[in-house]
Subunit: 384 residues, 2 copies
């Protein structure tokens, strides 16, 4: 197994891209990543995407995007794991390069969600749940997260307001991110007063429906060093699954796949949570931030919310999260999100995060989640 | 790069499986493959599928199927490349095991198409074409193949009846296959008299809409030898892409991605077309059989149909194809097809193909195609 690094990144601002097809959106990110990496040959293109069939009438994104960006002929494929699609594509790209089965793989994530009416998008997102038991009974994805959040509040005596710091922090960090959908601050009162979506999840607990694309270039570390000014090494990559249906979980609030994949990643990287300088977690809803922090060992069970109250999650804090706005405020174009997270960690480790720079950031972690914790991919990155 | 073999296969009969969900269908094949291989641990599950979101309201098949078959926790993901989804999943499973990034990967293909009304299935299949330029203008997948077939007939002075042997051979070979959807023979007159779908493609040129699932277990050849009575080695695996849109092709009848991936596979296996004992090709339409045979070097350009007239494609012929019925008569549950093909080659190389056994079969080839040749995966297998 050889060492793998990220030689380049490319990111399209998260927005409502009504003037671009999904192919054009993905193409912009891929071309930017290839330019950034200055590679002259690519062996394969892996595209993470969840909803192109349902929302864009377009499957077969691998071949489509490959041709569009001038890579006609290369091996290309679409990889899907619900909202963890981008992260899953990264994982398979890593597998190909680490196993010396490819020298250079471009991994893209893309999603275009805003061309369709809202009920259609909600129904499409529900295909990440168990169709026979959850969606079938009318549970939307927000509703599933509401069940988790309500249970958490009940179990640990936590109020809805205790989740405010996670949303406030994400919005604060989005202000200086030119790629963020919501670059504006909010207050705790705004948070509490926001429109209810599925009690107790309100609008400011929730990440938005939006369009976006991001891409990275993976190659062996030796080659990345010769290409990029500041390559970023993948110290660990691990993936695990859990039941999709919440009612089948052994431990509803345990986020087992997050715990397992994080433990594997720590082992591979030979680090502990204390070594991680920043953590791009999957804050599709505020409750997921809290569960993820607990599952990954940054807080004891039931105490994840305290990291918000303590300011530990801010850029100057003990474990900065969502440093460029996260899913909440940068935006959550679902299949693209896992690659946005990686690109943002790379910016931090290159020291290019501007006003959002985490000081002396050397080790960054990203975690992409599909469903309410059913597919989890954890990646640990290191500045070279 | 280490040697990879197939330690087990599992196949569900192709049918209208109205009594089973997509998860149950995939699960049957996966459990059969695991039993066949007698493996006691699995590192990852890759599921090839195209249309679960559009036709079954269910994405996120990786985690769903993993949990259902008792593999809760393992790395799992869905891989999509239109009708080449199963073949693409096999390719990534091969990459993981050959690169020593996983010791045992189960690769499944599944598709459940018959629960929905026909126009919805036709529209769903059209997402394999270029949505902006082909589907947008009303071209269904049959129509795209009709354009290719018409052009071929014009270019090479071939009649529609010249394609009959491909359909006749597929139906003949399906008779003894207990997993085939259409185990009955047809005549050349039946072929010519069949209902027109999109001129010149008629019903007996076309593979059917159906449900099915197949799975294989991949591991290092050393381990496969200790597990299976007759493991089958993957001598070569190669993937290539082309434009999706037919109007963008450099050579409309050349099937470039098939030629490129076959050439790579021959090189990797150090064989020539003459060494191949049987060829499970992607006969979604009779024209695709002919184009595939030509692109892979079994016939000169414009002369592929002659292999039908000569009887070369029959089980006793020079290059037997669709030996268990092919997409035409075994059936074409799109995302599952690539794995059915592999399982059938394995049966041939194990000498378990019964009445359809190709004598002394030692080297078999399978080719999965997504779209009208936009994604092509070629695999060469060898009896051990």
């Amino acid at each position: 197994m050889r060492d793998v690094s990220i030689a380049g990144i490319g990111v399209v601002p998260v927005a409502e891209h009504w003037d671009k097809s999904i192919k054009e959106l993905a193409g912009e990110a891929v071309q930017a990543a290839i330019s950034d990496a200055k590679v002259d040959s690519v062996d394969a293109l892996y595209v993470g995407n969840m909803l192109s069939g349902l929302l864009n009438g377009q499957e077969h994104l691998g071949a489509l995007v490959a041709d569009w960006v001038g890579l006609r002929g290369v091996e290309a494929v679409k990889i899907e794991a619900a909202c963890g699609s981008g992260a899953a594509a990264l994982r398979l790209g890593y597998v190909a390069v680490a196993g010396e089965m490819a020298d250079c793989v471009v991994v893209a994530g893309v999603e275009k969600m805003t061309d369709r009416p809202s009920p259609q998008v909600t129904a499409a997102l529900a295909t990440a749940s168990d169709a026979d038991f959850e969606a079938q009974n009318g549970l939307s994805f927000v509703a599933l997260n509401a069940l988790l959040m309500r249970r958490y509040m009940h179990e640990f005596g936590v109020s809805h307001r205790d989740f405010a710091p996670f949303s406030i922090n994400a919005h604060q960090n989005a202000v200086a991110n030119p790629n963020a959908l919501f670059p504006h601050t909010i207050t705790a009162d705004d948070f509490c007063a926001a429109k209810m979506i599925a009690d107790p999840v309100n609008l400011l607990d929730s990440s938005p429906v939006c369009d976006g694309a991001a891409a990275i270039v993976l190659c062996a570390t030796d080659r990345a060093r010769s290409l990029a000014d500041r390559p970023v090494r993948i110290r660990a990559s691990a993936s695990a699954t859990d039941t999709i249906a919440l009612h089948d979980r052994r431990d509803l609030l345990g986020l087992e796949a997050a715990a397992v994949s994080a433990a594997r990643a720590y082992r591979q990287a030979r680090v502990t949570p204390a070594d991680i300088d920043l953590f791009e977690l999957h804050d599709a809803f505020t409750i997921m931030s809290v569960l993820s922090l607990e599952a990954c060992g940054f807080a004891e069970r039931g105490k994840g919310v305290r990291l918000g109250a303590d300011g530990a999650i801010t850029i100057g804090g003990q474990i900065p999260i969502t440093t460029m706005g996260g899913l909440k405020a940068r935006g959550h174009p679902v299949g693209a999100t896992g690659i946005y997270q990686i690109a943002e960690v790379v910016e931090q480790l290159r020291g290019q995060a501007g006003a959002n720079q985490v000081r002396d950031a050397r080790l960054g972690m990203a975690q992409g989640i599909g469903g309410s914790g059913a597919t989890v991919v954890t990646t640990i990155l290191e500045a070279l």
